[in-house]
Symmetry: D2
Subunit: 367 residues, 4 copies
């Protein structure tokens, strides 16, 4: 039992079991979008600048360039742009900055902050107020209903007040909020005077989706704070927090430091984001990944294996016969999401900028 | 006033003032040891492995290799070795893991956790119990006295109990604890049953100092938990937490995640530390830096400018006439630490693996 | 909107609207069980001892007597017994003491800690892991299923571990766990090595219920930590935390102080609990209250108004036609719980040691 | 050693050793000002109202009356007045409400929050920024110097920002800030835009001192938030937080609940404070206590035993020969504060509304 696991080694055994070590090199991987390093262009610029000396903590010229390019791409000339290292850290820090102490954060019950962040939000003292998820999305009606029910209760001051709304774009299930849905959530939040925060860990794959009817400028216009994910979208690591109106994140810098989220060599994020936001690289490399994901889906559907969720991005979920899964596992790794009856299971395939076309072809041939 | 600074831009102005942008490239820099990228050998291995796909969160083979090499270098075969990203984050996470809720951490009042971490330790709910610093070091007598005074007070349960001891090696002033001092602190901590934690943000420069009478194995034998600094010692980023006896850090992995300190692409730290701990690279590149620092010191002293502190590592503090400072600032950047009377000031010079011999020569010529 | 309420006065208006001020004295009240002062015998002893001087913080003889009497009543001779002031405070302090940092507390989604404590548990850094409530109760099967699902997930270390189970007896809906259900939950918790904590804010009304098939000694035998509620059961204030085996709450005293839960004049709780645990006063006064509550229920059911929940304790929930509610409100106050269709609503009636028989008779006549 | 104390019983032994149980009733006590119950007039009103039913949480008429009387006494008609239970809890809650997350609280290093609250302030995530104490008081020059030094440091955003100033009146050593000193601290705080918070745990004894050149209205005019202590000044328990301008404590009510500081039977504090603020009872009973304390001092000085600190309030500190201490301890209890050389020690005598004149006479005779 996990409660008994104290040592690293035991944990290794447990967690690595999910990842067959033997002939790893011969295999193709669709487990996640953080399995490879960084896009070659990023590595090239990191190499070119490696021996330069610059001031730390993001006050270097590369970080200035990255902030400038991001403000342009967001059409938000006054935006506060701050670089952090990873997603969980970014969510915990931003939410801690946006909430007053008596407030909690509204989120889909399937939201990353409510499930997969080991209680990072609670570590800062805030409750996650879970709303029913619809394919990973929050419904405006549920948000409005929660707030109305809350304030119509005479004892509401004994409960955790809804202080902000957290959404993910794309969601943990690869689905997207349409422009209309974002507009509705945004006006709802402003009506009730709570900030709207968008977790863009995979934002590139949302922007690159053929189903996307919104732009990065729309996100910046409708969200009070959001972050542009680097780790899963071509960078070695790094997330760019954007507050189009800086008033939403006063004194954010010391809070980032307090949360252990401030990188000494800040230029590393500056160089990476400056590269990603040059010549639209951020979206272009994601488009390729999304296209490969949709090609995978077509291949599965052609064989009669339907998708578990209608995802237009780089995460695809399929319901497969267990023998098909076993056959694929000979040459391909992907995530097992659980049984569906005795003979079938749900699995997740994820592509990224680094996914080889050869890998997709391998799947097509194996089916 | 800082309290009025809300916007990024204003902050830029303020903080970048410390760093002359103009003709940056023509200048030599001794401001700190995190101004350059990573040692070329690390960059080479990051490039070579960049397109590989590996499992995340440190369960890849490179991280296994790094853990193995570190355990060997520490002569601690059963050690828990966990990679985090930065120093403040590492201190906050380890201290949160080691302390019970009613306990605080003993530290020199000049300790990094007490001064320069924006309250990260307090953010996790713990008090820093400050002891007088002696050139940055804690005196065993002060620790013993604190603990005795504490428990001899009938009301001690109304006060914050000393739950662990935090020390830095080298200290924020470049000074070192001798082997005898470490032995004394270690036996004192074990006598009182509180863990001894060593912050090794610059540990390489301690191990490489001609004044060092201890080895990494000694550190591992005497400290219950410590971390081997990467960020300031040749890596792009990354700190390796080591608990020679894993019992001191049960359930550390989820706590690292909760603190936002878990990197998705864990192999990045694995590759860097595996490289640093191959062929003694970690200490060798630090030795070169320490030698350049001591050469700087000799140059200053030759001109009659005495050292403010007797530091045998890569940080050197000098008392200089203000006109000398102005002359040096034409071609060199370093940290200003404050006035000393009307005509003199204290300054800090820091070298690293990336310091060019040319830079030291420039100082020698300018004096 | 509540978000706009800043001033005390506005809040007064809002919250007091629930409580008609006019001719308050002529009315009978069933709003809650904390509307009157303390049982006369408690007031008598507080008066008798008022001018005595005693040491503070619960180390006086009255507190010793209370601890001794509680240990006897619980048949737990070695129990740690610590007095706190209020329920929310007690839950937050005990849960903070029982959980390791990476753990959360399992609770019915209707549990007081999950709904009505303004995020006190989260303020200490812990997540409430909500389970479906069955008339306010947690099902052993749901607990077992949660734990199994959790540890069978390879990524469980990225999620909040179930570290303890919180239950209320009676529940927020007046229902009771049977001895068999408590036995099952207890063995389940011990099987998985997580403590079982029982919130006994209204424990007296559970013990006094004709439906109770358990004793206080059974509670002490089956729960690792629980508290005996004073505030709602005859005292002015005060809750007695009991850990039959003190090992579950090491260093609890300083944690109580840290949580601001330590009363300077600790004897006030000592005197109150010593009185409540003399001649079975604690249960006797609750029995009277439960009998009046059941008599109320009989009266409503006789008129065809059925109970919303089958509660055998001092809280009764009825579904009433709105015109009946309006008629009753002329002379009686009680809690409105929400509409049920257009013509009916759910209401809560609560009795206590202080409920006058005259008040019950008034209801009977008004129906 | 305290670290080994796990069980209640052991702790009892340790802590009760400070308080001789044998013939307790024959002794006179000067240990502290929280050893007796409440002023008889308070007990009378608690008895008279005991069986009344009122709404909870401080929304009853008695609490309204108390708030009204306190606003009048403070000449602060719009003041937010919120009742809490105890001092540590009140400090932790108010400080948590006043500080932004990146800020700490300035306090004398001898301040109660820095020494005797078991880390309650840190539990809420804030650092106590200790300033040198001058007989328990903070010097305006030290505050100004701290703030200037802080903001003149380029790296100030890596440090904990001074977000408020905490002072105690009277101090832990019985000393008082003069009106001029309060004026200076107040204008300093407003100049730097940080709130001034005054801990008035013993405020009555300050207002009643012959040395007091300020009124309660002055306190309300100069402090942004303060609390009027009840526990040590005639009440059973209870502290009244006052914010003359409510804007300083927005959403304070849910924060009080979250901190476990909200009493269900709020009227208990309402009745007590309404009584204390009727016919000047609060100050009158304190004046009697202060006079007895000053009479004690005269008696000691007449015997050549000088005061350790020049205190004009109810706490007096004396340097006594150890044989005198032993003689007094036969009939009197007081606090031992530590040795002073081999033959003398410092002791603390505290009087309260409940101190019998007979007790003072006993001391006079024993000398």
């Amino acid at each position: 039992m996990g409660t008994l696991l104290e040592s690293d080694s035991e944990k290794n055994v447990l967690l690595q079991s999910q990842f067959p070590k033997q002939n790893q090199t011969l295999m193709f991987h669709f487990d996640s979008d953080y399995m490879a390093g960084a896009h070659p262009e990023i590595m090239r610029r990191l190499m070119d600048t490696n021996i330069e000396h610059t001031v730390g903590y993001g006050f270097d010229e590369y970080s200035d360039e990255a902030r400038r390019r991001i403000r342009e791409a967001c059409a938000a000339p006054n935006a506060l742009v701050q670089f952090l290292v990873g997603g969980t850290q970014t969510n915990a820090t931003v939410i801690d900055a946006l909430l007053r102490r008596h407030e909690g954060v509204l989120s889909a019950d399937t939201g990353h902050i409510n499930v997969h962040e080991s209680g990072a939000v609670e570590h800062s003292g805030h409750k996650v107020l879970a709303l029913p998820a619809h394919d990973g999305k929050v419904a405006a009606a549920d948000v409005a209903n929660f707030i109305h029910t809350f304030y119509s209760d005479d004892t509401y001051e004994h409960m955790v007040a809804p202080g902000m709304l957290y959404i993910t774009q794309p969601t943990e299930f690869g689905t997207l909020y349409s422009l209309a849905e974002l507009e509705e959530l945004s006006s709802l939040c402003h009506k009730y005077n709570i900030p709207l925060y968008l977790d863009g860990a995979r934002l590139a794959y949302a922007l690159a989706s053929p189903a996307a009817d919104f732009t990065l400028a729309d996100i910046a216009r409708l969200c009070d704070v959001f972050y542009i994910g680097g780790t899963k979208c071509g960078a070695l690591f790094g997330e760019a927090v954007v507050a189009p109106d800086p008033k939403y994140l006063p004194h954010f810098f010391p809070l980032v430091k307090q949360h252990g989220a401030l990188l000494a060599k800040g230029r590393l994020q500056g160089i990476q984001f400056a590269t990603l936001f040059t010549d639209n690289l951020y979206v272009d490399i994601a488009r390729r990944a999304v296209n490969l994901a949709l090609r995978l889906r077509k291949a599965f559907e052609a064989k009669g294996h339907c998708a578990a969720i209608d995802s237009p991005t780089n995460q695809q979920f399929f319901i497969l016969p267990n023998e098909v899964i076993d056959r694929l596992l000979q040459h391909i790794t992907f995530e097992y999401w659980g049984p569906r009856g005795d003979k079938e299971s749900t699995v997740r395939f994820v592509t990224s900028w680094a996914t080889e076309e050869e890998a997709v072809r391998a799947v097509e041939e194996l089916l």
